[in-house]
Amino acid sequence: MNDLKLGDKIFTSRLFTGTGKFSSNEVMKEAIEASGSELVTMALKRIDIEDENDNMLQHLQIPGVNLLPNTSGVRNAKEAVFAAQLTREALETNWLKLEIHPDPKYLLPDGEETLKAAEELVKLGFHVLPYVQADPVLCKKLEEVGTAAVMPLGSPIGSNNGLQTIDFLKIIIEQSNVPVVVDAGIGAPSHAAAAMEIGADAVLVNTAIAVSPNPVEMAKAFKMAVEAGRMAFEAKLAERSMGANASSPLTAFLEDLD
C-alpha cells in the first residue's frame, strides 16, 4: 500500500483516531496502540496545556504517534485562531484540526468561519486540517487557501451512522488535490472500509472505538478494515454489473459492412 503524505509528514497508517469518550486514559492508550494510528486528535479544552504532567498528554506519549490538537468548543474564527496560537506555543506543534461548531447540540461545522480561520492559520504557518460538511465547493475553497487536507463528515459526529454523505464525498475525492480524510459518523469497520474503497486518503474514528464494550479489539478491527479498504482501492475494484453480456451485440452489424 502507498504511504500517505500529509503536510510535511509521511504516514503508513491511514486510520486517524480520537481521544474522547474513553473509560480511562489507560484504555485510550491501549486502543490507540492497537489501532496502529500515527495521528491522534485531542481536544484542547480537555488538557492543561501548561502542565507537562497532564494525565491525558502523558498517556499520548506513544512512539510513532503524532498529536493533532483540535479546537472543539470554539464558536468562531477569532476564537479558533487565538486557541491555535496558544496551543502552538505550549505544545510546539504546527498541526491543527480546525473545528468550529457554534451549534453545541449536533456539533455541526460552520463553513464560513472555518474558511476564514483556515486562511489566517495557513498564513501563520499551521498545517490546517479542517472539519467540514461534505460540501465540495467549500472543500475546493479550503484547498485554495492552503489547508493540508480536508475532513468532510460522513454523518453527524458521534452518530455512528456511516457514510450518509457518500455522493458528496465521491465528488470531493474526485476533485481534491489535497488528501481527503473522512471524519465523523464512521460507526463500524465496514463504514471505514467503504470510505477507503471510494478513495478517501484516510479516516478519523473516535466514538465507535471509545464507546465499544471492547475498545482495543474494536481498534484492531478498524485497523484491518482501513487496510483492506485501501488495498482494494489500490488494486481497483471490479465494475459492478447486474446482468450478463448481451448475446446479440448491438454493434455486430459493423462486421457486415463493406
Binding site: 469518550k21 474513553f22 480511562s24 488538557i47 470554539v74 496558544l86 453545541p104
Partner: protein
C-alpha cells in the same frame, strides 16, 4: 417573544390530564421510536411509564454513553454569599430566618479557592443568594476576577440578571449559568415565593431567554421537585428545553433535579418525589433529548448516585459545602441545605473509576471564549 408567550398556549390542568391518561400502549410506542416528541415524553413520565423503568434505564445508558462516552465531569459549588432578600418558603436562606449573613470578600474567596484547588477541581460553580444591592453583578464580576486564573470553567447560580450584565460576565469568562424555575405553575408560584424580586414569575421564567440573548455558553434548567406535581413540572421543563434549543441554538443546556426531602421542621414537600420517580424522570429526559447534560448533586445519597452514574448523568458535584466559607471553615455560617453524600471528591472519583468511567476534571479553558 419569550418563553412566557410560549407557555401561555398550555394549561396546567390539561397537561396534567394528558399525562395521567397515557396508557401502556403509549409508553410502548414511545419506546419503539428513535426520536420521541413531547407527547411521547408525557407517556414516559406518566404513571403508566413506571412499569418500563428497566427498558428506559437500558436505553438511557446506551444513549448517554454514545453521546458523552464513559465519562463523568466533576464540579464543586462555592457559596459566595448567603445574604438574600427573598422569602422562598422552602429555602434556608429565606431572609426571615434570623441568622448572621456572610458575604465573602476577595480574601475570603482566595482562601476558599485554595482549599478547593487542593481537591483537584477545575470546574467551579459560584452560588449566591439574591441581594441585588450588596451582591449584584459588580460583586459577582469582582469575585470571578479574583479566581478566574485558578479554574478553567466558571459557572454561576445566583439571582437573575439583565442581558447586558450577562454579556459583561461572559466576556470576563463566565461559561455557564444555572437558573431553576422551581415551578412552572404560575398560579401557585407566588405561594412559594411570596416576597422579594423572586416573586416575579415572568422575570424568572424569561431568564434563560436573556441568557441565550447574551450568548452564555451553557444554561442549566430545573425545577424544585416537591413543590408541585413533578410529572407536570417536568413536562414544562422539557418544553422549555425544546424552546430554548430551537431559539438559542448556540447555547448548550443542562438539567438538574433538586429534590425536596421530607425532614423534621421547616417546609415539607407537597408532592413527594421518590428515588424511583427520579429514575423515571432522568431516563425519560435522556430518551427525549440525547444531548442535554444531566447533573446530579450531593443532595442525593451515596447509594443513589453510585447507581445513577450509568443511567444518564453526565456531571457530579463532590465534597460540597453549602455555606459561604465552608471549605476554609473559619467559622460556621448558614448553609442552604444539608447534603446527603458527604464523601470526599477523591472517594467519589475512585468510585466513578471503579465503575469503569473516566473522571473528567477539566473540559474547558478560558482561552476558548473571547
Amino acid at each position: 417573544m419569550s418563553f412566557y408567550n410560549e407557555i401561555q398556549k398550555y394549561n396546567w390542568e390539561e397537561v396534567k390530564d394528558q399525562i395521567y391518561s397515557k396508557t401502556t400502549d403509549d409508553v410502548k410506542r414511545a419506546l419503539q421510536k428513535e426520536k420521541i416528541d413531547l407527547h411521547d415524553f408525557q407517556a414516559l413520565i406518566s404513571p403508566a411509564g413506571t412499569e418500563y423503568l428497566e427498558i428506559m434505564a437500558q436505553k438511557s445508558m446506551h444513549l448517554t454513553q454514545k453521546r458523552f462516552g464513559k465519562c463523568i465531569q466533576m464540579y464543586i459549588p462555592l457559596y459566595i454569599s448567603n445574604s438574600c432578600t427573598n422569602t422562598c418558603v422552602y429555602c434556608g436562606f429565606n431572609c426571615k430566618n434570623e441568622f448572621e449573613r456572610k458575604i465573602l470578600n476577595r480574601s475570603d474567596l482566595i482562601d476558599e479557592a485554595k482549599e478547593i484547588k487542593k481537591l483537584g477541581f477545575e470546574h467551579i460553580l459560584l452560588v449566591s443568594g439574591e441581594d441585588q444591592k450588596r451582591c449584584g453583578s459588580a460583586y459577582i464580576s469582582e469575585m470571578m476576577d479574583t479566581i478566574k486564573d485558578d479554574f478553567s470553567l466558571i459557572s454561576l447560580e445566583a439571582q437573575p440578571l439583565e442581558v447586558d450584565e450577562y454579556e459583561k460576565l461572559t466576556h470576563k469568562g463566565l461559561h455557564t449559568v444555572y437558573i431553576y424555575q422551581e415551578t412552572y405553575n404560575e398560579s401557585n408560584y407566588k405561594k412559594y415565593h411570596p416576597a422579594g424580586k423572586k416573586s416575579n414569575f415572568q422575570f424568572r421564567l424569561e431568564t434563560p431567554d436573556r441568557l441565550g440573548q447574551a450568548g452564555v455558553h451553557k444554561v442549566g434548567l430545573g425545577c424544585l421537585l416537591g413543590l408541585e406535581d413533578w410529572r407536570v413540572d417536568s413536562f414544562f421543563t422539557a418544553l422549555h428545553l425544546q424552546y430554548l434549543e430551537k431559539t438559542y441554538w448556540k447555547s448548550k443546556y443542562s438539567i438538574s433535579f433538586p429534590r425536596l426531602r421530607p425532614h423534621t421542621g421547616g417546609f415539607q414537600p407537597n408532592y413527594e418525589t421518590s428515588q424511583k420517580d427520579l429514575v423515571q424522570l432522568i431516563t425519560a429526559y435522556r430518551l427525549f433529548n440525547h444531548h442535554v447534560e444531566i447533573s446530579l448533586s450531593t443532595r442525593e445519597s451515596e447509594q443513589f448516585r453510585d447507581n445513577m452514574l450509568k443511567l444518564g448523568a453526565t456531571s457530579f458535584s463532590a465534597g460540597s459545602k453549602t455555606n459561604p466559607g465552608g471549605y476554609s471553615n473559619k467559622e460556621e455560617s448558614l448553609e442552604q441545605f444539608s447534603i446527603n453524600d458527604d464523601r470526599s471528591p477523591a472517594e467519589i472519583a475512585e468510585m466513578i473509576q471503579s465503575k469503569g468511567y473516566e473522571v473528567v476534571w477539566k473540559d474547558w479553558d478560558n482561552f476558548m471564549q473571547l
